[in-house]
Subunit: 387 residues, 2 copies
């Protein structure tokens, strides 16, 4: 960082003059962003957020072991991180019972989705996802000129039959499935996902976003997928149960040939050193994750009870958030804004049929109480239904 030299004198001729042209692809993109951040909301409202429950971050923090590892890693912050994330991949390989060559580490799942788009999708290629699915996946596909085909949720869950059918009709290069799902909170069990994998065209890549994998209750199971199957790319993150969202680290599991392809385009020195240290310690601190998962399960039950008390319906959740049916999109939007006035930041799904819902992260008991108090106050004053 140096503070010398550039000046800000306006140059009236510079915009009129010929200038370097953006790519046609970029010119065609809208000026939209996937999410408005809580930071921006605070700046806009001028008020602090007391309960940050809108981005499915972990209010339980990172494990003491991960915190210690990151604090220690700061001593070497002047050195670039290991571009191969060797130690971390060794530990992940052991944990998953796969080869290190089947793992690529990135700066969070968002980073890996961007690489996937670049590796598999050319301009005009068809891509299938659920209508209302993860906006950042759509953003990555838009960014490479892929053409998105969106399949509506069915019974408030990803419509696996519909997604598979769309993959066949469109000849999709990629299909995206979040399981457990964001923003519905739902999940399809192992058997259904395994059947879905078999139902897809052999030339379609399934991006299986398992960001919420840790929260799956013992009653349910994630699919078993042969890691040599080049048709499935599983993604995991340290942002949710491990509480490392701000450190930016996640990984993908798939056939080594795909990992080698990522090596041709990924930013080799992109993953930061502090995150690598934190993630390595987090893997080894399973009791902490178990603790978070228990707290989250308790919070899900609490939110379901709260919804019931106020005459709303909480959708079944297999994640660290609960999606609550507020009746219609207008009321749900209104509720998001009213909660923000109470210092409670939540979000809501953007597309039907889930746009009638709000989506609330499960915080600690004190965070949940702030949300519950605010929700009760809003509902009881009738503010939710004012014109």
């Amino acid at each position: 960082m140096s503070t010398s030299k550039p000046t800000s004198h306006p140059s009236p001729t510079s915009t009129a003059a010929p200038r370097p042209a953006f790519t046609r692809l970029l010119e065609a993109l809208p000026a939209s962003v996937p999410f408005v951040a809580p930071d921006a909301l605070m700046r806009r409202t001028g008020r602090p957020i007391a309960a940050r429950l809108g981005a499915n971050e972990s209010l339980f923090g990172a494990s003491p072991a991960a915190m210690k590892a990151m604090a220690e890693a700061l001593a070497d912050v002047s050195f670039y991180g290991d571009p191969e994330s060797f130690e971390l991949r060794e530990a992940l390989a052991e944990a998953h019972g796969v080869s290190r060559d089947a793992i690529v580490v990135g700066s969070g799942i968002d980073d890996l989705l961007g690489l996937t788009a670049r590796a598999f999708v050319s301009v005009g290629d068809p891509v299938v996802m659920s209508l209302g699915g993860y906006p950042t996946f759509a953003y990555s596909i838009d960014g490479v000129g892929g053409v998105l085909h969106r399949v509506p949720y069915r019974y408030d869950r990803n419509d696996l039959d519909g997604l598979a059918a769309a993959a066949h009709t469109t000849g999709a290069k990629v299909v995206y499935l979040s399981n457990p799902d964001n923003p519905s909170g739902s999940m399809h069990d192992a058997v259904a996902v395994e059947a879905f994998v078999r139902a897809l065209p052999a030339t379609t890549l399934l991006v299986l976003d398992e960001a919420y994998a840790d929260f799956v209750p013992p009653s349910h199971a994630l699919p078993t997928i042969d890691i040599a199957h080049a048709g499935v790319l599983r993604m995991r993150t340290f942002s949710k149960a491990c509480g490392l969202a701000g450190a930016r680290i996640g990984y993908a599991l798939t056939a080594p040939e795909t990992i080698r392809a990522f090596d041709k385009i990924r930013p080799h020195f992109g993953v930061n050193r502090i995150a690598q240290a934190g993630a390595l310690a987090a893997i080894r601190d399973r009791p902490f994750v178990d603790h978070v998962v228990r707290e989250v399960a308790a919070g899900r039950a609490e939110y379901a009870g709260l919804a019931d008390e106020l005459g709303f319906n909480a959708l079944p959740s297999f994640t660290n958030f609960v999606t609550i049916d507020i009746g219609n999109a207008r009321r749900a939007t209104r509720l998001v804004n009213l909660l923000l006035d109470h210092g409670v930041f939540i979000r809501k799904p953007g597309a039907p049929p889930l746009d009638r819902c709000i989506r609330v992260s499960i915080g600690r008991s004190e965070d949940r109480r702030l949300f519950a108090d605010a929700l009760r106050a809003i509902v009881r004053t009738g503010a939710l239904d004012e014109a």
Copy 2:
């Protein structure tokens, strides 16, 4: 992170079967990486590195203020960073005397080079850089299918006339200039760079990589460039003088219209929270940077003296490393390997005419002593010239 489910049972049929195809662009890319990391060298040799002087990292660490800010930021590591890097951009805007809208923050210059390639370069577009210039810039251009035209160094410096001429002949979309330069250590003064900007076609974007800006001595000046000039994209980093390489943070300065274009494709939540905090504190700790810059200046003089003592020629340096002429490429390569045997990690330029040189980062006096001792030992035993 979850450790459940994927299995590694080999599936003999899966690779023979039809599978999702990579893009043609990716298929055409070689399986090369820009740099071999010191971590990989240690794993290969099985020996620790005593002096890490090959990646131009700062051996002086980060400032105490930045360290404190990052340690404190760990408390909120569960929260995603601010996607707008608002506070940091405010501070940078003030420091540079420009509008916040003229600044984009990324996960280091490498990240910003990747975005630049995606924003400006389509398949087949001509791009100009120096032969032997920053490999990661070339990697980014290869990754979007741009066609690189390389102009040899002249008198061991970037050949500005040659680069400008090549930009005209090829109709270059982008020209890359590192100034002060890596790997030569040289620089062109303000007047020369300003003339270079004027000499380029109006439709060519100049990527002006100023990673080493902080190390420019008072006798020299960086160019003054109107920030409204959409034809120049200046890049700065916290990885060098500020010692935050492992945190991954840098920024670009240019016309707001280009910043808005980056907003269409950049990973909004990509910059990690710890780095944002560290960078903000680093900007405010100018005395620390001044201290590093003084130490580096002393080290440059010391390396020049060492080279002289051993009959080598150190090229003039305006950076935190010194490039030393070893006579020819064979000897230079041999020296890099011999130094590694002594636990000293350095690198060398890969292309002529600079491939006759080694490139050594300036560490603390103890690091410099390790390098000097090893170099003297190698030269005196004659190992450098053995068959």
